[in-house]
């Protein structure tokens, strides 16, 4: 049934990165396994060897320090939902974690794994994009920090090298004058793949929208920001007409497809509706 592979279960982080050194793609890191094991069974992936992070508990943490919220490379979706730091400083991430798959998957699936799989429907990615999160990639020779906005390059492709692990994800604590939220539209309320996901993060200053982030999931080859829509509302006091116009622009910016879950037209309409609703609600709460 399965393609055969070898498996390493290192106890220390240094061993894990050493096992990945020199890797050109035949070795895969295994975290929660909720996507990877399914892909192995379907033979969509046929690695020679897996390096499991299951025994490396030092990668599982959440921390608030120096004005930033950070989470470790093996922090799970359930960990997010139990952390007061995330409840306070990552409302959109809580929204996404709360509608992520089902309970058993949330208990093992990691935030880093949701990023690494590169699915355009990855629910944690729109919130992280709207929070301007950074991703830390580590290999045997050191670490580099990449804004998540520059992480994905196209459908299921990213800038992570085969010998690198996602070891940390962090974002600046949002200011008191900002609101960030996420909404997932799917065929069911639970245990479903996203049809359209929208995350919004607005900051207000002096009666205008000082900063806007709008991130769209499952409507392009990768999760994307609606940058033209963001520019349209930044620096402006928001009116219903301007919000509608920005939402129309966001719907034009995405590149959805028809699939078994919804048509491209439906997805564009959902982007328009959800962007309008989330931006309106955020603005109402801030003014």
């Amino acid at each position: 049934m399965y393609a055969e592979f070898d498996l390493e279960t290192p106890k220390r982080f240094e061993e894990a990165v050493a096992l990945l050194a020199g890797n050109r793609g035949a070795v895969l890191a295994l975290a929660g396994g909720t996507n990877l094991v399914v892909d192995l069974r379907a033979r969509r992936l046929v690695p020679d060897r897996l390096v499991s992070l299951s025994q490396i508990d030092t990668l599982r943490w959440i921390c608030l320090a120096d004005g930033r919220v950070g989470i470790g490379g093996r922090t799970t979706v359930t960990d997010l939902l139990r952390a007061p730091e995330i409840a306070r400083h990552g409302a959109s991430l809580v929204d996404a974690a709360g509608v992520f798959a089902g309970q058993m998957v949330r208990n093992t699936a990691t935030v880093a794994g949701n990023i690494a799989c590169g699915s355009p429907a990855a629910d944690l990615v729109p919130p992280l994009l709207c929070l301007d999160a950074d991703v830390v990639l580590t290999n045997v020779s050191g670490s580099r920090t990449v804004p998540i906005a520059e992480y994905f390059t196209s459908y299921k492709t990213d800038i992570r090298r085969p010998d690198e692990l996602i070891t940390e994800i962090s974002w600046a604590v949002p200011t008191g004058l900002s609101v960030n939220r996420f909404y997932k539209l799917a065929r069911r309320k639970g245990d479903a793949i996203t049809v359209t996901g929208v995350a919004v993060n607005l900051t207000v200053a002096g009666g205008v929208c000082a900063k806007a982030r709008i991130a769209l999931g499952a409507v392009s080859p990768m999760v994307v920001r609606a940058r033209r829509a963001e520019v349209l509302i930044e620096g402006q006091p928001l009116s219903p007409a301007l919000i509608s116009e920005a939402s129309r622009v966001a719907a034009e910016e995405c590149r959805p497809i028809d699939d078994i879950r919804a048509s491209a037209d439906y997805r564009r309409h959902a982007v328009y509706m959800l962007t309008r609703r989330l931006v309106s609600d955020a603005w109402a709460r801030l003014s």
Partner: protein, 162 residues
Amino acid sequence: MSREKTISLNVNGRIHQQAFPAHRTLLEALRELGHFDVKSGCEKGDCGACAVLVDGEAVDSCLTLAWTVEGRTITTVAGLGNAQNPHPLQEAFAKLGAVQCGYCTPGLIMASESLLRRTSDPNDDDIRFALSGNLCRCTGYTKVFDAVKEAAARARISGERK
């Protein structure tokens, strides 16, 4: 080639030493060891029939490779209780008709147990969230919710007596 390795699995308080290939899932390993109370359903993390507790947290054993849970504490539904000495959840599920065909029941009970270990008085939203990864096509879930609440109430009463 998959390597084989003898690993030690702690299941329901008993240590099993057995050789498994690297690609063996915890679900397959448990059934090989005779734990047929763990059910195989979708084998892709949608249905929850294979749920077991690993260190007290409900996980899908079909998505877990056996080697990765060496040294952890694994609990299956038979580890909670048996016909002579049932766990409050097992008793409440049977009494209230939350079991029909029974195939999803072991997974539902393990997900419920994971909830009750953290939340002694769950409301409907807590139960809905905790059981969001368990599919049942018979009961419509209504009696399952009743059973989880009854088991929680019984556990609270017996907790007060202690």
